[in-house]
Amino acid sequence: MSDGQVYATRKFTFSAAHRYWRAEWSPAENRRVFGNLTVSHGHNYVLEVTIRGPVDAQTGMVMDLAELKRVVSDAVVQRFDHADLNADPFFLPGVIPTTENLVRASWDLLLPKLGQERLWRLRLWEDPTFYVEYFGG
Protein backbone atom coordinates (compact mmCIF):
# COMPACT_ATOMS: atom_id res chain seq x y z
CA MET A 1 0.00 0.00 0.00
CA SER A 2 1.15 3.59 -0.58
CA ASP A 3 3.21 5.31 2.09
CA GLY A 4 1.55 8.72 2.53
CA GLN A 5 1.20 10.27 5.96
CA VAL A 6 -1.73 9.42 8.19
CA TYR A 7 -2.93 11.62 11.04
CA ALA A 8 -4.16 9.83 14.17
CA THR A 9 -5.97 11.70 16.94
CA ARG A 10 -6.66 10.55 20.48
CA LYS A 11 -8.79 12.38 23.02
CA PHE A 12 -7.93 12.91 26.69
CA THR A 13 -9.83 14.63 29.49
CA PHE A 14 -8.82 16.36 32.67
CA SER A 15 -10.49 18.72 35.11
CA ALA A 16 -8.68 21.70 36.54
CA ALA A 17 -9.21 25.00 38.30
CA HIS A 18 -7.95 28.41 37.28
CA ARG A 19 -8.51 32.12 37.60
CA TYR A 20 -7.30 35.07 35.55
CA TRP A 21 -5.48 37.60 37.69
CA ARG A 22 -2.51 39.94 37.25
CA ALA A 23 -0.89 40.67 40.64
CA GLU A 24 0.51 43.98 39.46
CA TRP A 25 -2.96 45.27 38.58
CA SER A 26 -5.53 46.63 41.00
CA PRO A 27 -8.59 44.45 41.75
CA ALA A 28 -10.71 46.95 39.79
CA GLU A 29 -8.41 46.69 36.77
CA ASN A 30 -8.45 42.86 36.99
CA ARG A 31 -12.23 42.86 37.11
CA ARG A 32 -12.48 45.28 34.20
CA VAL A 33 -10.24 43.15 31.94
CA PHE A 34 -11.09 39.59 33.05
CA GLY A 35 -14.62 39.99 34.45
CA ASN A 36 -15.90 36.90 36.26
CA LEU A 37 -12.78 34.97 35.24
CA THR A 38 -11.00 36.61 38.22
CA VAL A 39 -12.82 34.17 40.50
CA SER A 40 -11.36 30.67 40.82
CA HIS A 41 -13.43 28.26 38.75
CA GLY A 42 -12.84 25.10 36.74
CA HIS A 43 -13.39 23.21 33.50
CA ASN A 44 -13.57 19.71 32.11
CA TYR A 45 -10.83 20.07 29.53
CA VAL A 46 -10.61 17.81 26.49
CA LEU A 47 -7.20 17.53 24.84
CA GLU A 48 -7.00 16.06 21.33
CA VAL A 49 -3.49 14.93 20.44
CA THR A 50 -2.79 14.39 16.74
CA ILE A 51 0.31 12.50 15.67
CA ARG A 52 1.30 11.88 12.07
CA GLY A 53 3.62 9.65 10.17
CA PRO A 54 3.93 6.82 7.71
CA VAL A 55 1.98 3.67 8.49
CA ASP A 56 4.18 0.81 9.65
CA ALA A 57 3.83 -1.91 7.00
CA GLN A 58 3.72 -4.69 9.56
CA THR A 59 1.50 -3.28 12.29
CA GLY A 60 -0.65 -0.98 10.11
CA MET A 61 -0.20 1.75 12.74
CA VAL A 62 1.34 5.23 12.83
CA MET A 63 2.04 4.74 16.52
CA ASP A 64 0.86 2.34 19.16
CA LEU A 65 -2.13 4.22 20.62
CA ALA A 66 -1.64 2.48 23.96
CA GLU A 67 1.86 4.01 24.09
CA LEU A 68 0.43 7.42 23.13
CA LYS A 69 -2.06 7.06 25.96
CA ARG A 70 0.74 6.27 28.39
CA VAL A 71 2.85 9.22 27.24
CA VAL A 72 0.06 11.79 27.38
CA SER A 73 -1.29 10.47 30.67
CA ASP A 74 2.14 10.61 32.31
CA ALA A 75 3.20 13.97 30.90
CA VAL A 76 -0.01 16.01 30.81
CA VAL A 77 -3.09 14.41 32.36
CA GLN A 78 -1.50 13.45 35.67
CA ARG A 79 0.02 16.91 35.96
CA PHE A 80 -3.09 18.94 35.27
CA ASP A 81 -5.97 16.68 36.33
CA HIS A 82 -7.64 17.96 39.49
CA ALA A 83 -4.96 20.61 39.82
CA ASP A 84 -5.02 24.34 40.39
CA LEU A 85 -3.37 25.60 37.22
CA ASN A 86 -2.38 28.90 38.84
CA ALA A 87 -0.13 26.94 41.23
CA ASP A 88 1.63 25.00 38.44
CA PRO A 89 5.24 26.06 37.73
CA PHE A 90 4.20 26.87 34.15
CA PHE A 91 1.85 29.59 35.36
CA LEU A 92 3.40 30.75 38.63
CA PRO A 93 5.63 33.44 37.07
CA GLY A 94 2.70 35.62 36.04
CA VAL A 95 1.51 33.54 33.08
CA ILE A 96 -2.31 33.57 32.93
CA PRO A 97 -3.60 29.97 32.53
CA THR A 98 -5.71 30.74 29.50
CA THR A 99 -6.59 27.94 27.10
CA GLU A 100 -3.95 29.40 24.78
CA ASN A 101 -1.20 29.18 27.38
CA LEU A 102 -2.36 25.78 28.58
CA VAL A 103 -2.20 24.29 25.09
CA ARG A 104 1.33 25.68 24.70
CA ALA A 105 2.36 24.23 28.07
CA SER A 106 0.94 20.85 27.01
CA TRP A 107 2.90 21.10 23.75
CA ASP A 108 6.14 21.78 25.65
CA LEU A 109 5.51 18.72 27.80
CA LEU A 110 4.71 16.41 24.88
CA LEU A 111 7.23 17.55 22.26
CA PRO A 112 10.28 15.93 23.91
CA LYS A 113 8.35 12.66 24.33
CA LEU A 114 6.79 12.44 20.88
CA GLY A 115 9.22 14.41 18.71
CA GLN A 116 8.67 17.14 16.13
CA GLU A 117 8.16 14.68 13.27
CA ARG A 118 5.31 12.89 15.03
CA LEU A 119 3.52 15.55 17.06
CA TRP A 120 1.32 17.45 14.61
CA ARG A 121 -1.45 19.26 16.46
CA LEU A 122 -2.95 19.82 19.88
CA ARG A 123 -6.56 20.90 20.17
CA LEU A 124 -7.61 21.88 23.66
CA TRP A 125 -11.31 22.27 24.44
CA GLU A 126 -12.03 24.39 27.50
CA ASP A 127 -15.73 23.63 27.30
CA PRO A 128 -17.99 22.25 24.54
CA THR A 129 -18.11 25.66 22.83
CA PHE A 130 -14.46 26.75 22.72
CA TYR A 131 -11.17 25.23 21.64
CA VAL A 132 -7.67 26.43 20.78
CA GLU A 133 -5.36 24.68 18.33
CA TYR A 134 -1.56 24.73 18.40
CA PHE A 135 0.86 23.38 15.82
CA GLY A 136 4.03 24.44 17.65
CA GLY A 137 6.38 27.21 16.62
Binding site: M1, G4, Q5, Y7, A8, T50, Q58, G60
Partner: protein, 138 residues
Protein backbone atom coordinates in the same frame (compact mmCIF):
# COMPACT_ATOMS: atom_id res chain seq x y z
CA UNK B 1 -15.31 31.96 -8.40
CA UNK B 2 -14.96 30.68 -4.84
CA UNK B 3 -13.60 27.24 -4.08
CA UNK B 4 -15.16 25.54 -1.08
CA UNK B 5 -14.68 22.35 0.87
CA UNK B 6 -17.68 20.26 1.88
CA UNK B 7 -17.62 17.49 4.45
CA UNK B 8 -20.20 14.78 4.81
CA UNK B 9 -20.38 12.18 7.55
CA UNK B 10 -21.36 8.53 7.09
CA UNK B 11 -21.81 5.64 9.45
CA UNK B 12 -21.29 1.89 9.35
CA UNK B 13 -20.94 -0.89 11.90
CA UNK B 14 -18.48 -3.70 11.47
CA UNK B 15 -16.53 -6.36 13.29
CA UNK B 16 -12.77 -6.67 13.25
CA UNK B 17 -9.66 -7.68 15.11
CA UNK B 18 -6.15 -6.37 14.71
CA UNK B 19 -3.85 -9.08 13.47
CA UNK B 20 -0.75 -9.06 11.31
CA UNK B 21 0.06 -12.13 9.24
CA UNK B 22 3.74 -11.33 9.83
CA UNK B 23 3.43 -11.97 13.58
CA UNK B 24 3.01 -15.07 15.71
CA UNK B 25 -0.08 -15.12 17.92
CA UNK B 26 2.08 -14.15 20.92
CA UNK B 27 3.46 -11.17 18.99
CA UNK B 28 -0.01 -10.17 17.81
CA UNK B 29 -1.21 -10.27 21.39
CA UNK B 30 1.75 -8.17 22.56
CA UNK B 31 1.49 -5.56 19.77
CA UNK B 32 -2.29 -5.19 19.55
CA UNK B 33 -3.33 -6.09 23.11
CA UNK B 34 -7.09 -6.35 23.54
CA UNK B 35 -7.60 -5.29 19.88
CA UNK B 36 -6.34 -8.77 18.90
CA UNK B 37 -9.65 -10.13 20.21
CA UNK B 38 -12.59 -10.17 17.83
CA UNK B 39 -14.72 -7.04 18.46
CA UNK B 40 -16.43 -4.26 16.51
CA UNK B 41 -17.20 -0.57 16.23
CA UNK B 42 -19.77 1.95 15.11
CA UNK B 43 -17.50 3.65 12.61
CA UNK B 44 -17.95 7.17 11.32
CA UNK B 45 -16.45 8.17 7.99
CA UNK B 46 -15.98 11.81 7.03
CA UNK B 47 -15.39 12.63 3.39
CA UNK B 48 -14.24 16.12 2.41
CA UNK B 49 -14.51 17.18 -1.23
CA UNK B 50 -13.61 20.45 -2.83
CA UNK B 51 -15.26 22.24 -5.73
CA UNK B 52 -15.96 25.59 -7.32
CA UNK B 53 -19.18 27.29 -6.38
CA UNK B 54 -21.68 27.04 -9.22
CA UNK B 55 -23.44 30.44 -9.37
CA UNK B 56 -26.62 28.89 -10.75
CA UNK B 57 -27.13 26.04 -8.27
CA UNK B 58 -25.31 27.65 -5.33
CA UNK B 59 -23.54 24.35 -4.79
CA UNK B 60 -19.86 23.44 -4.90
CA UNK B 61 -20.29 19.67 -5.07
CA UNK B 62 -22.99 17.19 -5.95
CA UNK B 63 -23.71 15.68 -2.55
CA UNK B 64 -26.23 13.26 -4.04
CA UNK B 65 -23.55 11.83 -6.31
CA UNK B 66 -21.11 11.71 -3.39
CA UNK B 67 -23.62 9.85 -1.23
CA UNK B 68 -24.25 7.33 -3.98
CA UNK B 69 -20.53 6.76 -4.55
CA UNK B 70 -19.72 6.38 -0.84
CA UNK B 71 -22.65 4.05 -0.37
CA UNK B 72 -21.73 1.83 -3.32
CA UNK B 73 -17.95 1.84 -2.92
CA UNK B 74 -17.46 1.92 0.85
CA UNK B 75 -20.55 1.40 3.00
CA UNK B 76 -22.07 -1.51 1.11
CA UNK B 77 -18.68 -3.29 1.22
CA UNK B 78 -18.15 -2.96 4.97
CA UNK B 79 -21.42 -2.32 6.82
CA UNK B 80 -22.24 -5.29 9.04
CA UNK B 81 -19.30 -7.32 7.81
CA UNK B 82 -16.22 -8.64 9.57
CA UNK B 83 -13.48 -6.40 8.18
CA UNK B 84 -10.78 -8.88 9.12
CA UNK B 85 -12.18 -11.86 7.26
CA UNK B 86 -15.09 -10.98 4.97
CA UNK B 87 -13.82 -8.05 2.88
CA UNK B 88 -11.73 -9.22 -0.05
CA UNK B 89 -10.17 -5.79 -0.68
CA UNK B 90 -8.80 -5.73 2.89
CA UNK B 91 -7.39 -9.26 2.86
CA UNK B 92 -3.94 -9.45 4.46
CA UNK B 93 -4.14 -5.85 5.72
CA UNK B 94 -4.36 -5.19 9.48
CA UNK B 95 -7.66 -3.32 9.77
CA UNK B 96 -6.29 -0.42 11.84
CA UNK B 97 -7.89 3.00 11.47
CA UNK B 98 -4.81 4.07 9.56
CA UNK B 99 -5.17 1.33 6.96
CA UNK B 100 -8.95 1.79 6.67
CA UNK B 101 -8.56 5.52 5.98
CA UNK B 102 -6.02 4.84 3.24
CA UNK B 103 -8.00 1.97 1.76
CA UNK B 104 -11.26 3.92 1.64
CA UNK B 105 -9.43 6.83 -0.02
CA UNK B 106 -7.99 4.49 -2.62
CA UNK B 107 -11.39 2.97 -3.36
CA UNK B 108 -13.29 6.23 -3.51
CA UNK B 109 -10.85 8.60 -5.19
CA UNK B 110 -11.21 7.23 -8.79
CA UNK B 111 -15.02 7.51 -8.58
CA UNK B 112 -15.07 11.25 -7.79
CA UNK B 113 -14.33 14.25 -10.04
CA UNK B 114 -10.56 14.44 -10.61
CA UNK B 115 -8.73 16.09 -7.71
CA UNK B 116 -11.90 16.71 -5.70
CA UNK B 117 -11.21 14.35 -2.76
CA UNK B 118 -9.36 16.25 -0.05
CA UNK B 119 -9.66 14.31 3.14
CA UNK B 120 -10.87 10.97 4.38
CA UNK B 121 -11.39 10.46 8.09
CA UNK B 122 -12.18 7.24 9.93
CA UNK B 123 -13.53 7.72 13.45
CA UNK B 124 -13.24 4.37 15.18
CA UNK B 125 -14.45 5.43 18.61
CA UNK B 126 -15.20 8.74 20.26
CA UNK B 127 -11.53 8.79 21.27
CA UNK B 128 -9.71 7.64 18.13
CA UNK B 129 -9.68 9.41 14.76
CA UNK B 130 -7.58 8.64 11.67
CA UNK B 131 -7.18 11.08 8.82
CA UNK B 132 -5.66 10.62 5.36
CA UNK B 133 -5.17 13.34 2.76
CA UNK B 134 -3.53 11.37 0.00
CA UNK B 135 0.12 10.80 -0.78
CA UNK B 136 0.75 14.37 -1.89
CA UNK B 137 -0.06 15.88 1.51
CA UNK B 138 2.71 16.49 4.00
Amino acid sequence: MSTLELTRQYHFSAGHRLESADFSSEENERVYGQCYRQHGHNYLVEVTVTGRLDPVTGMAADLGALDAAVDRIILSQVDHYDLSSAVEALRGVPTTGENLARAFWKWLEPALPVGSLRRLVVIETDNNTFEYRGDAAR
